[in-house]
């Protein structure tokens, strides 16, 4: 990551190394989560498809019974017959946790338990087809509730999988490579600093040595001169 500035210090290096470790750990965990979610999701979807086609078929059958019934009865009579329901449904919702996705589980409670006793009208004024239609609808209702549960679960899981997948990819292709790049940059910079320090020290040592040598030589020359010799001879010895 060349576009942001990092301080090439040891402290920063330690911090980045910690970050890399966390990122790699997180990446592994999220990847596992994604795989498991995907497995569960595909199971749910398979179930959902079967359930949906079943429900759609059953509903169409119920609808066609209603069509027959409405052909035999006047619209007003039918509306009147269905106006005040005898049955009422109460739904309670609990949650099931699938890999940290909360999916709803529905439990329903009907006012009358007897499925044969759901007709809210007298039989005298209505046609038999309406009875058939209502009971067909009553049968399909259980599956419809199951369908709602499964479909919502699938939707929520799809959302969670998408999120997890994005996170995994962000870690895998952005965060981890960037951190590694930064660590490499800092390591190289620190190594370079080390080397430049070493060479500087070597250079200083050379300079000091040369100076000491010079001083020594000057002192020697002075001594030779004191004894009446020629300093040029000393260099030749």
């Amino acid at each position: 990551m060349a576009n942001t500035v990092v301080n090439p210090t040891r402290m920063e290096l330690t911090r980045l190394k910690g970050k890399l470790k966390t990122a790699q750990r997180g990446h592994k965990l999220l990847k596992d989560k994604r795989d498991e979610l995907m497995k569960q999701f595909l199971d749910t979807v398979r179930e959902l498809r079967a359930l949906r086609s079943q429900v759609e078929q059953d509903l169409m059958r119920a609808h066609s019974s209603f069509t027959v019934a409405s052909a035999l009865m006047s619209a007003q009579a039918m509306e009147q017959a269905l106006m005040y329901p005898k049955q009422s449904v109460e739904l309670t919702m609990t949650f099931q946790n699938i890999m940290s996705v909360n999916v709803p589980v529905y439990h329903y409670q009907t006012r009358t338990d007897d499925t044969g006793d759901i007709f809210p009208y007298g039989f005298a004024a209505t046609s038999g087809e309406l009875d058939a239609a209502v009971s067909a609808l009553g049968e399909v209702f259980q599956n419809m509730l199951k369908l709602a549960e499964t479909e919502k679960a699938a939707q929520l899981m799809a959302e969670e999988i998408e999120k997890t997948r994005r996170r995994v990819n962000a870690l895998e292709y952005v965060v981890i490579p960037n951190t590694q790049e930064n660590i490499r940059y800092i390591t190289m910079k620190l190594d370079e600093n080390d080397r430049s320090t070493t060479t500087r020290l070597m250079k200083v040592k050379d300079m000091l040595l040369a100076e000491a040598l010079e001083e020594r030589r000057a002192a020697d020359d002075a001594a030779i001169r004191a004894f009446g010799g020629d300093p040029g001879d000393a260099a030749q010895i």
């Binding site: 979807v45 498809r49 429900v55 759609e56 109460e90 739904l91 709602a148 919502k152």
Partner: protein
Amino acid sequence: MANSYQIAVLGDKDSVMGFKALGLTVFPVDNVEDARHTLHRIAREDFAVVYLTEQLAAQMETDIARYKDELTPAIILIPGKEGSLGLGMANIKKSVERAVGADIL
């Protein structure tokens, strides 16, 4: 947290009338605009599941998408009286694509 919720059925009158006999809360609507308003209104109330006919759903996709990631209500498409448009199946396909990135089924 097991609160009690209700179930709503939203659609044209002929398609939803039968559900009334089952004790569900029925909202007959005549046009899409009406359906939209009703949907937003009941989404704020205690409805855990909203069954919506495909005929209406075809024209209010954005409204449905709003509740897709919410826990309640679960908007479930059902075929109306005129028959199935295949929208429900298409939605399953869509969520698979969303999760996997490709249609693999």
